[in-house]
Amino acid sequence: MNLKSDSKVLIQGFGEFISATHIAQMKAYGTNLVAGVAPGSGGKYKYDLPVFDLVEEVILKFGQIDTTIICVHPYQVLDAALEAIASNIRQIIIISAGVPPLDMVTLLRKTETHEILVVGPNSPGIIVPGKILLGTQPSEFYTPGSVGIVSRSSTLTYEVAWELTKAGLGQSISVSIGSDAIVGSSFPQWLQILDEDETTEAIVLVGQPGGEGEEIAAQYIAEAIDKPVIAYIAGKHAPASKYWHQKGNVATVVKRDPNFGSTKSKLTAFKAAGVPIAEHLPQIPQLLKKVMSNR
């Protein structure tokens, strides 16, 4: 994970989910944005960035790129990511939402075996408050501090950050792993990063119904994380029959719990792991202050 403020960053595509405001914010935050790639617009300037037709042209001009932020149409995400990988870019943040899941399967087969970090799709990216912004997280909700946030939702990530800021708790690193059905990096990967991060003292995990990411995370916290973690799961009062993304026959075949993917199942997992659970947003800073003062 390279989150240094001098690392070189590229933007692939200027689609629906990224605007002039986002790019201006990233620059104001000191993110070293070097160029954009938009096929057909090579040679032009957009949002004060030089635009190229191919990723390899950017590398010829500026040297190796550390991180790419992909904002192309969801149907072009796979191609853009493969292009980045072909140019040896190791950190890929996918902002675009609604990428067809089979495209993600293809991408993960490639990145999992090559140790490439993929964040998203449907993620606002990563922010290290006061240092670097990689993505579209609104920086006004953040203040530098010692609470790490790892979340699956986009908007909830900064909703939680703002709640902390208002309560006088700053943040160390905040990431949304993305809320599409299939995403790149997982909760355990980020819990490990936050556990190793020196500025992080406590971690908030933000989840929602669907899949089993939170359940796996709960077990991982109990087994491998030393820092205090608290959890907040949205959707307690949402209709229980909705599994959001994962449903159908396979769950019963591979003998998963009938509550698989529900908020209830996630809350049970955190309870079993001894992870404190915030019932609503304002309770998050309260719980954090408690666990942090206990240390």
Partner: protein
């Protein structure tokens, strides 16, 4: 989105997966011009699973018999759905029946091949009978053979079944499917295999990259405008519940948190929509503001909804247009909302729901100022920055609406009483 059996079989046929000779019947008289021989099976083309029990599948021996039965099936609703077409298909003498499927497991992030030597699976406890193989890396035929061997098949039958699994996988990838299922796969006395029924579920996020599927989806939505679309599009990106406070937000997590907050504040959350994605019923590409406009109208046309609570945080695409969409919405004539009602009837109220808009983030500074200028003498719409405040206002407003309504009804009752 689930396809109908005849559509599934057309795709199977194109892939070289064995299906019986069959013909699509749009009208009972079509049975006079048949290219297949009697006896044959007439099948109602609806999405419900229990057609057989409901009487939607019948064997017929003669043309007269067939026409009468077809008339019968056309008039037989199954779980509320009338068939638009029937499928006439040859009969097959099955000695054994298997189950085969390919499904995308989003927890494993991989497609999974499923197979069982029995066709009637008890999904509550598939137990040891169901075999599965995870397609870890790029697909190759050995994955299919691995499944069929696990199923306990041998020799020529193992070969012919794994050949079908391979073709199913090809279809799965080609058309962006969430599920392709053959149930049952019949085997006759001479060991020949034949698909008797199949199911295909297209991934809703990929519909628009297949023009032919987008066209099918558009037709389905057109046809089912007046019934519950949910049966066909099986997962809205939102929550459909009956309550007084409708929610629109720019992310799934925000929808859920708002819903929880409304509940905790003593309110009743209603239909809630995430505007970040296109709706599953959108068969053409949409912008965020298209979805906002449509979302507002869908909620307003639901007459249980008294208040619409918008929760936007951070940034949204094309924020300037957002204010205009809201400005236009509050001037709308409620009578125009008819087309968005699920049952097609006229809206019973002449009033639009009240709007509470929560906007947080510097990107919304201009929008906040502009929307404040739209407020009428009742300070509508309400624009605030704090979520809890917005939720409280929405809950109070919904209660107030209820009191006003009951007062109005009391008045009516009294005037009636005087008469």
């Amino acid at each position: 989105m689930d396809l109908l059996e005849y559509q599934v079989k057309e795709w199977f046929d194109q892939m070289g997966i064995p299906v019986l000779p069959s013909q699509r019947i749009d009208h009972p008289t079509d049975l006079k011009r048949l290219n297949i021989n009697y006896p044959l099976v007439l099948k109602s083309q609806v999405h419900a699973d229990d057609r057989v029990k409901a009487g939607g599948v019948r064997i017929v021996e003669t043309t007269i018999d067939a026409i009468a039965t077809a008339q019968n099936i056309f008039n037989l609703p199954i779980l509320g759905e009338f068939p638009e077409v029937l499928l006439a298909e040859s009969k097959y003498d099955a000695q054994k029946e298997f189950y085969l499927a390919i499904v995308l497991d989003t927890a494993l992030c991989r497609p999974v091949l499923l197979g069982c030597k029995e066709a009637n699976i008890d999904w509550e406890s598939p137990g040891e009978k169901m075999q599965y193989v995870v397609v870890e890396q790029e697909f190759s035929s050995f994955y299919a053979r691995r499944l069929t061997l696990k199923m306990g098949l041998q020799g020529a039958l193992m070969q012919s079944v794994s050949d079908i699994v391979e073709k199913m996988y090809e279809l799965f990838i080609q058309k962006d499917l969430d599920l392709v299922e053959i149930n049952p796969l019949a085997v006759n006395g001479s060991g020949q295999v034949m698909v008797l029924n199949g199911k295909v579920r297209v991934n809703e996020r990929a519909i628009n990259r297949h023009p032919e599927i987008a066209e099918m989806a558009a037709k389905m939505i057109g046809r089912h405008k007046n019934s519950k679309v949910n049966g066909i599009f099986d997962d809205w990106d939102g929550a459909e519940i009956q309550g007084e406070i409708g929610i629109l937000a720019n992310g799934t997590g925000s929808v859920l948190t708002t819903l929880d907050a409304v509940f905790n504040a003593g309110g009743k959350p209603g239909m809630s929509l995430n505007l970040r994605h296109s709706f599953l019923t959108d068969t053409k590409p949409t912008t965020f503001c298209d979805r906002l406009e449509k979302g507002l109208k869908i909620l307003a046309a639901d007459n249980t909804i008294k208040v619409i609570l918008i929760n936007f945080l951070g940034t949204i695409p094309d924020v300037t247009q957002m204010s205009e969409v809201i400005a236009n919405f509050i001037q709308i004539d409620p009578q125009e909302l008819t087309s968005y009602l699920s049952n097609g009837s006229k809206p019973k109220t002449n009033k639009l729901p009240k709007l509470v808009i929560r906007l947080a983030g510097v990107d919304f500074d201009d929008a906040r100022k502009y929307l404040a200028t739209l407020a009428d003498e009742n300070e509508q719409p309400i624009v605030v920055e704090n979520l809890d405040e917005a939720v409280k206002l929405a809950v109070d407003l919904a209660k107030l609406q209820k009191i006003e309504k009951s007062k109005l009804e009391d008045k009516k009752q009294k005037t009636k009483g005087r008469k």
